[in-house]
Subunit: 684 residues, 2 copies
């Protein structure tokens, strides 16, 4: 499969593969999203940031760019994929604006659209789209971040008044971290336990006015301010407490559950848990957007650090004419290039996810068909997994980029501090990453359970390896291609060249299957252990279970990348991406080398070959490092990083310095040990 990479590859050819199905949305953003109000402003106060971002949100609404995901009947375009792609592009700008937009049109508008019904759409949707009705998505409670099913806020129906009574029973049940709440929100979608006729029907959502036209809190509503955060200063997060607030019956978002005037509860979905997950599942778009946005911020950070590393000189190379820049150092390449390769891999996985989401949601909502429950489950698991992968990668990579730029990376004028601080919450909002990994694992185990029994009764679970294989593996878009590559792996595993794509795929697949089988075996054993409490049965294996989820995500990502390389038409671009894909695969295996050694998939000598193969790939990719960031096609005016601006006279100064360095290198080798004298400066 591997062919030689030409010495120069056209970044435009790479870009067109990356741009993919919603290239038109990306192009439109690059050409038209050029308002300085959409960029972060360094050194703003929280107040200033909030005001600017509110202003920017209005402008964004006016541009019409926020309606992509809404129904055509209300001026939207029924384009779910376009809508998340559009958010992804917005994330190259001020992330406060991206989050504010995500709250208004993704979460608040999305809940109204997907949990509400026509009369509610008619009444509110246009005002939501125009930002004339700024709103909140009030789900999380101070005491219940991750366990939505156990929310403590109640909403109790009274047939006498035909209203609900919305109430916060104690402080731990207050709604917290709610975007748009502290300053702008006039309405909120509030999640609470629906109680009618003395029975709790589980969590539902209501439209609840929280401020009047003058901006005063409505009666019974107490609004708090979460104050300054690590980042996202332009998002007005706040707290909402409800003291027996009266909510009219028709404000219940009643697509999946209705309460009649007399208090009779009806729903098309009988099982309360299934209903709950169906309602929550419609909101998957938020998670998809967070993952995509994390990747945009990662690309920008890599763009900045990579270009800086290509200009920055660290130490004089003794006795050489060559200009050594920090990108020439092996250890610097080890920081940047595997991160770039992973970013490419995640891009293709995200692309596949967005397309799947678009197709599932279009099938369900536009054509009015019943939701395909299996497809929806699959989608949610994939969205959760990729949200984890992309946000964890963002946190790691942006941190690395900031450090790779040294002192310059610590100055706000160079953008990286904002990228770091703003994205930092991504790993824990829209689902805490650890909890989401558990969700992914549960999906894998559930597939298994469906065949053999219930998750409660581990004792009943039989163990047949091939069934696991089927359940887990028949899932990505490029299955046929992958199977062909794996089948073509020649000879014994420990003799196959490591650049064989089939071998790489086989390693990822083996690890996932083996991890899953092991987790099942251990869970089963615990379930038959006398006296072990249910919590301990699970907790004892928690690290193993999360590992299983991680290996699953890695496999899905690699397969998406392989499919992306396969569909690349330009030969040069394909050859380069093929090498980047090698680096992703091998550096992922290298990062988990212990597992492969422990499970007999790598011999010690092959493990050493792995390290040198990765180093060889770094050497081969080094000349293309700028092309790889060029292909992200981030407009220069979006970057807002001073270190990327050519200072007046910088070229000349550099030339002068180089001349000096050369003169010294020739003239005085007196200082003796400069080659390895890597002494360093205290700074402050």
């Amino acid at each position: 499969m591997t062919s030689t990479v030409p010495s120069s590859v056209d970044p435009k050819a790479l870009q067109s593969v990356l741009d993919g199905r919603w290239a038109h949305v990306r192009r439109d953003a690059r050409e038209n999203l050029d308002d300085p109000d959409f960029l972060p402003v360094y050194g703003e106060t929280m107040q200033e940031a909030r005001e600017r971002v509110t202003r920017a949100a209005r402008k964004l609404a006016e541009s019409g760019r926020v309606g992509l995901g809404f129904p055509k009947a209300y001026g939207g375009q029924d384009d779910a994929g376009g809508s998340t792609t559009s958010i992804e592009m917005l994330a190259f700008g001020d992330l406060s604006l991206m989050v504010k937009a995500g709250v208004q049109w993704g979460l608040f508008g999305g809940a109204l659209q997907l949990l509400g019904t026509k009369r509610q759409h008619d009444k509110y949707l246009r005002d939501v789209m125009s930002f004339d009705l700024p709103g909140c998505f009030a789900m999380t409670e101070t005491g219940h971040g991750s366990d939505v099913q156990q929310l403590r806020t109640t909403c109790t129906y009274d047939p006498a008044t035909e209203t609900f009574d919305l109430h916060t029973p104690h402080q731990a049940a207050r709604k917290d971290y709610i975007g748009n709440a502290a300053k702008d929100g006039r309405m909120a979608v509030v999640f609470a336990q629906l109680i009618t006729q003395g029975k709790n029907h589980g969590v539902h959502a209501w439209l609840v006015p929280i401020r009047d036209e003058q901006g005063n809190a409505m009666p019974g509503v107490t609004i708090g301010d979460d104050g300054p955060k690590a980042g996202l200063p332009g998002v007005d997060n706040g707290r909402l407490t409800f003291d027996h607030v009266s909510v009219p019956r028709d404000m219940l978002l009643d697509r999946y559950g209705q309460v009649a005037a007399d208090g009779t509860y009806t729903s098309s979905i009988e099982n309360e848990t299934r209903r709950f997950f169906t309602m929550l599942g419609t909101l998957v778009r938020g998670r998809v957007s967070v993952g995509g946005s994390a990747s945009s911020a990662t690309k920008l950070a890599l763009d900045i650090a990579t270009r800086y590393g290509d200009a920055r000189r660290q130490f004089a190379a003794p006795g050489e004419e060559r200009e050594i820049v920090i990108n020439d150092y092996l250890v610097h390449q080890r920081k940047l290039l595997p991160a770039l390769a992973t970013t490419y891999a995640l891009h293709f996985a995200q692309d596949e996810l967005v397309a799947t989401m678009h197709d599932v949601q279009t099938a369900a909502h536009v054509d009015g068909k019943v939701l395909d429950e299996d497809a929806q489950r699959e989608l949610e698991s994939r969205a959760a997994g990729l949200k984890v992968a992309q946000t964890a990668h963002a946190t790691r990579t942006i941190q690395m980029c900031r450090e790779a730029c040294g002192g310059a990376g610590y100055l706000q004028e160079n953008r990286l501090p904002h990228l770091k601080a703003d994205t930092d919450v991504f790993t824990t909002f829209e689902g805490d990453n650890t909890v989401l990994l558990q969700l992914v694992a549960k999906g894998l185990l559930t597939g298994y359970r469906d065949t053999f029994g219930s998750l409660e009764g581990w004792g009943k679970v039989g163990f047949i390896a091939d069934m696991v294989r089927e359940t887990v593996l028949e899932r990505t878009a490029a299955r046929a291609l992958i199977a062909r590559l794996i089948d073509a792996v020649p000879g014994r595993d420990d003799e196959v060249p490591m650049l064989d794509r089939g071998w790489q795929l086989k390693m990822f697949e083996f690890r996932e299957k083996h991890a899953l089988e092991g987790a099942i075996r251990r869970l089963r054993k615990n379930s038959t252990t006398e006296g072990m409490a249910p919590f301990d049965m699970f907790n004892d294996v928690q690290d193993h279970v999360l590992k299983t989820a991680q290996t699953h995500i890695d496999r899905v990502v690699l397969e998406a990348f392989v499919a992306g390389v396969d569909r690349t038409e330009d030969a040069g671009a394909q050859a380069l991406m093929d090498k980047v894909c090698d680096l992703y695969a091998l550096s992922t295996i290298e990062a988990d080398k212990a597992w492969f050694l422990e499970h007999g998939q790598l011999t010690p000598s092959r493990a050493k070959t792995l390290t040198s193969t990765v180093n060889q790939l770094l050497r081969e990719l080094r000349p293309h490092i700028i092309t790889l960031v060029d292909a992200f096609a981030i407009p220069a005016e979006w970057k807002a990083a001073k270190i990327l601006e050519e200072e007046p006279g910088r070229q000349e100064a550099m030339a002068a310095r180089d001349a000096e360095v050369r003169a010294e290198a020739e003239g005085s080798q007196a200082s003796g040990e400069s080659a390895t004298d890597l002494e360093v400066a205290p700074a402050q």
Copy 2:
């Protein structure tokens, strides 16, 4: 060695071991450093932060607490160790103040003290101590962060006027990131190339006034502002450019190099490179302080996250009376406990470093003896290595703590965002960590070179393993104890219990020795490879060389911890620390499991035992987790984290919730799959 940990250990007993030799300095800080101005203020503007911190610095000066490290003759206490311990304590407060103090009294004052001579001390030292003369340490240049020897600023002597001409030749040579420069500094210690009689004598330092009494820049001095940063808003970092500034001859800090009126250069140290490193070496205190401060911030973050995790409930445990808090989850323990163990280990290593520094500097400076060059080199290498270890650990751990607190961890009111943002620069200032690792590696290789030849001539280097062993290993305080433990390891390595301290030490030692030998072998091979440029010879092995440094640091840290456990007198405290030491050793081996497998030190089955042994240690340490943070003895009023404050009525609300949960667990198991239904909320 291991005895049973009693069910309850007195945190005071642990604390007294941790407090160590400078316990009186710690006690004084805990009791008297209680000014609210010394704590971070959330939501301040940069301007407000700078003003408050300047005010706080003055108060600190008035308290007399800043003089510990200065000579008694000027009102100090000649207590180098006390001075770094005092900075370490200050780092529990606002880190902007710690850095500001570090700049004024550590870097600026330290350079004056250690590079200057009596007439300069007489003239300036008291004003520096009182903050009447705020100053800068102007070393780093925009274009030369790490390569101090290649600084471009020049200072050229003219015997006609008996002045130096200080000049910035181009923008890349401007002094950058300089603390105290943007607002307060009136004088700077400026590092530049000393040129006299047409010859460059290398980097020296001068006292240069940069502002007059009115705060205006002195003629020829241009002062810029680095503006807002990721953190440390109270430190006024700036840029200094010199346009042929005239500096009187007696402003040269001339302890190590003098220029006579006629321009004749003299120095007690002939070799320019040796002189340079001697001068730089005196400034080691800064690096020691940064490492210690990073550890203080880490302790505080762990204190907050650990207490939060002990109160926070995540999901209801189905069918159980038990209250499950997030610290009960295995994966949460895997985050907090190894980080706590490493923090303990680093504490003891830092303690040892501070004592060594104190003794070396006291011997050199107070007794007026000549510096013991070997001891000084050793000290610098140790300081560099521990600075890397502590700052990298801080960056990782504070990030983890922020995530472990979810949304609450993202709010400034809970302190973690400040800890993260303020410490973030620690990995790259006072020496970039990657460059410092290289310095450590060089120290190891140099020890080798001293025996066999020069670093330039790798070809000449012979290879005798035992000599390496001697050079590298005979270095930590507790050598005899360590040797005894290692010698006592019974039987074959793969049969020894993993909790055997001797086996753990042996593994650390073997890894270091093997890594170093391998690096030497590869460097030697490259040096005999035809046509390989010097840069490539080194660069090819850079990852291996840095790995060597890392393994060396790990070994030093473990040995310090072992010595610390050994000198603990309280039996309960000793038993607990012994277990924490096991966790540090085994989780460090686990993190590098691939290496041990690859090099035949772990069999696959022993690698699995390692994982389960670590998990077993987590279970055993879980009940003591609060004791472990209690022992840091951080005064409650320093923590400034809202989540640690008991809200009014919180206890009752919690009790009410627990009752609800129990009622539900008993009443309705209707929802079916709650045990593993770990679904999560979108948030914003």
